[in-house]
Symmetry: C2
Subunit: 226 residues, 2 copies
């Protein structure tokens, strides 16, 4: 374990996306906290992930305790729980980098969402004391859990009004085997949310489940180098 690495909490981390992210970051040597509204559920998932990896670096806590203890909080709650989670964690998140992975797209009836982006809404609700970054909205959950040290064929578009915070998350994405790019301010995140709707349509039309977006024509040591 590298002590200079930030401690990462995954809030609402017992759902579809959280465990896969936790596995990849723990595999890369990060200290991870799985947060949940229910302490027991968080601890059960954390123990199961530790067992899978043969490590002891994943803890389970209630969301608010997890947020307070972490440097970076990744919010992976479902769309319907987004507002309530933010309101409940507003104080705990002050001073933190808060990564919003919410895509307001319904899988059974996918339509692009309207501005403001979920992450812009979060920034407005949380206030300027929280460094909000939008990322990981389109990462396929099934791809996270296999070949943990390997690359995932997806590009993460990282949006924030706080460039240093965005760069921390670009590094975090790379640590999990994903290419990542700075894709502008928080308002741009509504497009990244909407890409979910495009990817669902592509998968449906072409009979795949692996449609993904890749950025080309941009040369950057920051995002290409491992």
């Amino acid at each position: 374990m590298n002590e200079s690495r930030p401690r990462v909490a995954i809030l609402g981390g017992t759902g579809k996306e959280g465990p896969g992210l936790a596995l990849r970051w723990a595999y890369a040597g990060y200290s991870i906290i799985i947060g949940s509204r229910q302490l027991e559920k968080a601890q059960t998932v954390a123990q199961e992930l530790n067992r899978q990896l043969g490590v002891n670096s994943i803890q389970g806590m209630e969301n608010s305790a997890a947020a307070r203890l972490a440097d970076i909080c990744v919010l992976t709650v479902v769309q319907a729980a987004h507002q309530q989670a933010l309101e409940g964690l507003k104080q705990d998140l002050q001073g933190k980098v808060m990564v919003d992975a919410t895509a307001r797209v319904d899988f059974s009836d996918p339509r692009p969402p309207s501005p403001p982006a979920a992450a812009r809404y979060a920034q407005n609700l949380l206030g300027p004391g929280v460094r909000v970054v939008a990322a990981f909205q389109n990462v396929p959950a099934h791809a996270l859990k296999k070949n943990l040290g390997g690359a995932i064929d997806t590009d993460v578009l990282v949006c924030s009004d706080d460039l240093p915070a965005a760069e921390e998350i670009i590094h975090l994405a790379k640590a999990a085997g994903m290419r990542a790019y700075f894709a502008g301010g928080l308002d741009n995140a509504v497009v990244v949310e909407g890409l979910t709707s495009i990817l669902i349509s592509l998968n449906k039309h072409y009979g795949t489940r692996t449609a993904s977006i890749e950025i080309t024509g941009v040369q950057t040591p920051l995002s290409q180098a491992k």
Copy 2:
């Protein structure tokens, strides 16, 4: 010239995007009509393009005459002229495939647009007698004009509620050297418009002008084969 090929009009075709598309399609053997509000301007641009290619297959006409004569009309007017162009051409476009290339993003202050997509707005305004397809919103104009027979490193996301019409445009995109995918219904086109905002942000941050989107994880003879 292959007489079975549809005749393509590029409405508002004297701007940034139109001439490059015209060159590529004419190079591929299509009959092209450059449309403009001003007949003389259309004819001047058409003559110049014929001269560049050493062909005689590009005509210049007023937009309404161009629309009436064509099978497929590609609307490449600037955002501010979109509504007026549609209203003026509503009768002329009946029965045609109308490709809307509008991205409602201001280059000097790029922000993702709200739903409805420009192409959905067009479909509503033109009525069910026009087969509206959204495509070519993000194609870099400078890339179109060079190496005419070669591939362009960009993926075209084609959205329509009319799948056969979308497939015609996927073929047309391929004829111009672009990969193209069916990316869902017209509502999804708002995301493709918004990608313009992402690409501008990427180019600004990384000091490039060639940022582009590529689809991965989808295997399709329709879009990959030349």
